[in-house]
């Protein structure tokens, strides 16, 4: 099999995994901080 298939698979898994991790962390942080601020303002 062409070696580039393995290279692209490794880069796809890594870059996709890191992008997914950062997206998940950003979304969770944003959601929690927005909710905490909204609750703080209401009280």
């Amino acid at each position: 099999m062409n070696q580039w298939v393995f290279v692209l698979a490794a880069y796809g898994v890594t870059l996709g995994g890191v992008a997914g991790l950062l997206g998940w962390c950003l979304a969770a942080c944003r959601r929690a901080e927005t909710r905490a601020e909204r609750l703080g303002r209401r009280q």
Binding site: M1, Q3, W4, F6, V7, A9, A10, Y11, V13, T14, L15, G17, V18, L21, L22, C25, L26, A28, C29, R31, A32, E33, R35, A36, L39, G40, Q43
Partner: protein, 238 residues
Amino acid sequence: MHRFANPVRFLRIARPATGWLLGLGLVLSAVGVVGALFLMPRDYLQGETVRILHLHVPAAWLGMSGWTGIAVASLAQIVWRHPLAGVAARAIAPVGALFAFLCLATGSIWGRPTWGTWWEWDGRLTSMLVLFFLYLGYIALSAAERERGPDARAAALFGLVGAINLPIIHFSVQWWNTLHQGESIELTGTSIAPSLLWPLPFTMLGFSALFAAAVLLRMRAELAETRIEARLRRAAAE
């Protein structure tokens, strides 16, 4: 270290630091990835698959560094009862687990065309797989005892005991005659040609900065969730 025990002071530094680390990490990783994929020559022996090592090495380094961070935070939690230590350790766990998984996945993908096998039960590969399972165990344990707050010690003890695996991973290539090769980069020098080596510092530093940014984001999210719980409890009591 106790200067940062106050979450308000920690957040004052963590908020701008997250953006800087994200920006720096993205730029350095992009330079490293473009360099490794398009600018670097192919290796005379490994061919194109040498490009995978520029992801595999940072993933291995961060998978092991993550557990070092968990062990240090666990020690700070047990000995000094640092209020942010448990938060830091819980934030590191999923990030470290992902990098340990990426180390195994990229190693397996590299191994198929180079060694002729996806997997071999050799010392280095098996001890790295054990590290990945330790991360999963830590995530489950810390989630189960999170509600107990600062008195929760089981996950911290698990974090300390699990650190025994780190020297086993490091020395596995010396202790056992394994398929995995020994160290190519040491403090005294390297056996890798500079034309193949130069993208590695970029991916190492870039992914390290992204790792740190992800940990800070997880810590900020947990601190915000703690504030939400406290406010809801106060509102229910009034």
